[in-house]
Point group: C2
Chain length 503, copies 2
């Protein structure tokens, strides 16, 4: 078979696999938005069936044959060409998938689909005992998954690769150590600062329907295309890409917490802009996919925090907020608002954590999920360890398990090795924004004028349209001139909080 | 292989096929409710992929081998046992699927998906010429489909079997002839009656949000289980069963037409009650599926018309409607309301036709689609024939093609042989309700008290939980003691309209 024909068939198969994956994405989205509660068990069966079918396709020996032909051909001589990048990534994925037994894949899909509902119930009732057997089952399954993949290396790295190809736990540990060293004293200084700010203005009354309209308007203003996406309301904000022109965001609203809905929306919009900026021509192949979850998260954090909590952004958007909520915000000054949306709070809640403490929340999870996976921590002891870690890194103790180890649904969904991508996202995002600020003259002025297009186009060009042409860390180095490190993030946080808190 | 093992494998495969079909159902539901408009093309690709996978499974030779083993075994000696009924139906479906060339199936899927858009455009612009080539193409494809299936029998019967297994066109022709003979004079008498009723009260202002709440409350009151289903808003009412515990209804609302939303809801609720009443234990096999579209429609028509337009029903529900719409309905008397919801109108529009004239609309389509399929009518002459038929049976002439032969999208979707199931639904529904009225003492009193459970339980027991254990006509005969006939329907219509119109 000629390599051109092999490549054609490889791409056709890969696209079909992606189409099937999109069907599963819709089933997942629907489960969190519109599925009647009685339909959960049947949905788990549907998810397991599709997961099994996807696995069968992803491990079809024909893929291996096609990859063999291509790897021995001159088509991949130039590693920067699309064909070479696609072959590299498809080989990696094929190797990974063929190591996972189909029965394990189906079992994980079924168990996590059911465990999600149990986690919701357990969190609502502060009843960790209810969730514990499910977590134990999932940890066992994930350990089997890691053992199938690890090649004698660290179990955790084998799972990490799913979300952040190329990342290693010892490098991550060094990154977290550097961040911890820098951030813990900075957090302490802010805590002891006399320039305490209040966030009371965010807790006033914001009618939910007006919030929904305001969020949709802002999402459109920064560049989210509603002809190719949606914004819905759920309990837990998330995004799903069901196809190149069908990207769905959700956020939650609280009539007495403006930030919950608005920054939830900005976060998901960041994910959405990345998805909508991918090259549709390469849909369904690595070239048309995000390079890593960390890079995906970098866009969520960049739009939520770096932009969405900047003075320049609110310079333009705050007058619109005042118009939308005249009774609520008519008497508030821009500076006070900017202080409020950046208020540092030592609290137990990750989702609403400020930029400064956020990575410490992730550090807790990074350490605990490694301990669970390696057998150094039993699920029965998770609650106590969680409390101890929060006390150690943040100086706070969650009131109960609902505010503690039940707060996130990631582990219920089988996402082990996922949490570090949030911190990688902060690191990548800060580094990219620093570069954009150097290369684009006057980013702050653009933002203050409500002109988001120059920055968005820069990101599209440098990051989004690159897809998975390069591994995420390589892409960061290509775009910013330096490998990923904590420096840009720490610099940005120091600059912002020294100004706000005089530290 | 032992027959028990063969049956086990057969059912496992059948259930998997059903699970996959459910995924396609969700994709279809989502397309009509929440899909961003940019996502349509990609959704078509997803649907095509799933359809191809379903076809491959449905025609897998392994199914034929398993059926061979079972048909030669004592397991099916007693034809009333589940195993015998499942084997009978699965053999019928396998025979049908394997006779259809895959290329024809794919061509039909592609052409009807494109033709649907052309039909929408043609209807909007009253431009039959635009739709004609597509209709010609579809008629040709459906003729090829029928030729693959008909075994020398009537072409039309081969298509009918898809929707109403066991039905024959000559029997249907006799049924329609009997209905025509009885109904045409009755319609004429009503038209000439001095007791003309007005439906103005239905055209007053009914705020849409209140309608939505009222419809959901009524759906729950008659027995639709919202823990296992939903009710959403769309342009065209429909129902989808995504699983045994996930049945989704939609209706459309018009602030100046109470009937559109309410009776649309009652119609879909009838479908929903049938689906929710199927035996979940047999999900995914014929025993857990509806026996025919005619029987499904019978439940929609029974709950929409026989119950939903009865005086007894409104005796209980009208005071609630008055409470929900106090300004709109405060001055309306129950009898006037009951007259209004049963108003007979000689019009060209099938969807909003009253109970009395509805079957004449179907008769027009039944005759014309046979003529198209058999080559007795060219698509070029369809418009003129449509007009002539409406004049002959209903005494009205549609203003143009949009109100005439372009009003329904069924033929654009390739649905030939589907229309008669509406009339079969009316026939089955009336016959079942007459039997229920004999066996359940005081059905009208139950309805007038808002007690729907006795009737629903009777229907569940006799019809819904039977699934496809018997062909629909056999089931009707078992439950009512007589084969399906026009008698009960004509009796019910005579009784209702002689009272309302004094004829």
């Amino acid at each position: 078979m000629r390599p051109e024909a092999a490549y054609h068939e490889l791409i056709r198969r890969t696209r079909e696999e992606s189409l099937l994956a999109c069907c599963a994405e819709l089933l997942g989205w629907d489960e969190e938005t519109y599925l009647p509660r009685g339909g959960v068990a049947h949905r788990a069966e549907q998810m397991a069936l599709l997961a099994g079918m996807q696995h069968a396709r992803a491990t079809d020996p024909r893929l291996g044959e096609l990859l063999d032909i291509l790897e021995g051909s001159p088509l991949i001589n130039d590693p920067s060409l699309p064909v070479a990048a696609n072959v590299r990534e498809l080989r990696r994925l094929y190797r990974r998938h063929t190591r996972l037994p189909r029965q394990l894949v189906e079992e994980l899909a079924r168990v996590t689909s059911l465990a999600h509902q149990e986690w919701v119930a357990a969190r609502t009732r502060n009843d960790f005992a209810r969730f514990k057997p499910w977590l134990t089952k999932i940890v066992g399954l994930k350990r089997r998954e890691a053992e199938s993949l690890c090649d004698g290396g660290p179990l955790y790295d084998a799972l990490l690769e799913e979300y952040e190809p190329g990342a290693l736990s010892d490098e991550l540990a060094r990154l977290f150590e550097a961040l911890r060293t820098e951030l813990v004293p900075l957090v302490a200084a802010v805590r002891d600062s006399r320039q305490r700010t209040e966030a009371d203005v965010l807790r006033r009354h914001f009618p939910i329907e007006t919030q929904q309209q305001f969020c949709a308007k802002t999402a459109a203003a920064v560049g989210f295309d509603f002809a190719r996406g949606r914004l819905d309301t759920t309990d837990h904000p998330f995004f799903t890409a069901i196809g190149p022109d069908d990207c769905r965001l959700t956020t939650r609203y609280d009539a007495h917490d403006f930030g919950a809905g608005f920054f939830g929306m900005m976060h998901e919009v960041g994910h959405g802009l990345y998805e909508q900026g991918l090259d549709a021509e390469h849909f369904g192949t690595p070239l048309g996919c995000a390079a890593s979850l960390g890079l995906h998260e970098s866009q969520a954090r960049l739009w939520e925090n770096t932009i969405g909590r900047s003075w320049a952004f609110w310079r333009n958007v705050f007058p619109q907020a005042q118009k939308a909520f005249p009774q609520t915000l008519g008497d508030v000054a821009l500076d006070d608002w900017h202080h409020a949306v950046n208020r540092v709070e030592l609290a137990a809640d990750r989702v609403h954590a400020d930029e400064l403490t956020y990575n410490l929340h992730i550090l807790v999870r990074f350490e605990l999920e490694q301990a669970l996976l390696n057998g150094d921590l039993e699920t029965a002891d998770l609650g106590a360890s969680w409390q101890a870690s929060y006390q150690r890194y943040l100086g706070v103790t969650p009131k109960n398990d609902t505010e503690g180890c039940l707060q996130d649904g990631h582990w219920a969904s089988g996402l082990f090795g996922y949490f570090p991508t949030y911190t990688l996202g902060n690191v990548y995002g800060a580094q990219l924004f620093a570069t954009a600020s150097r290369e684009l003259d006057g980013v702050d002025e653009f933002l203050a004028d409500g002109q988001f297009r120059p920055l968005l186009e820069w990101l599209c060009d440098r990051v989004y349209r690159q897809g998975h042409r390069y591994p995420a860390a390589h892409l960061i180095e290509r775009v910013t001139g330096a490998p990923p490190s904590h420096h840009a993030l720490v610099r940005a946080l120091r600059a912002k909080y020294s100004e706000l808190y005089g530290v």
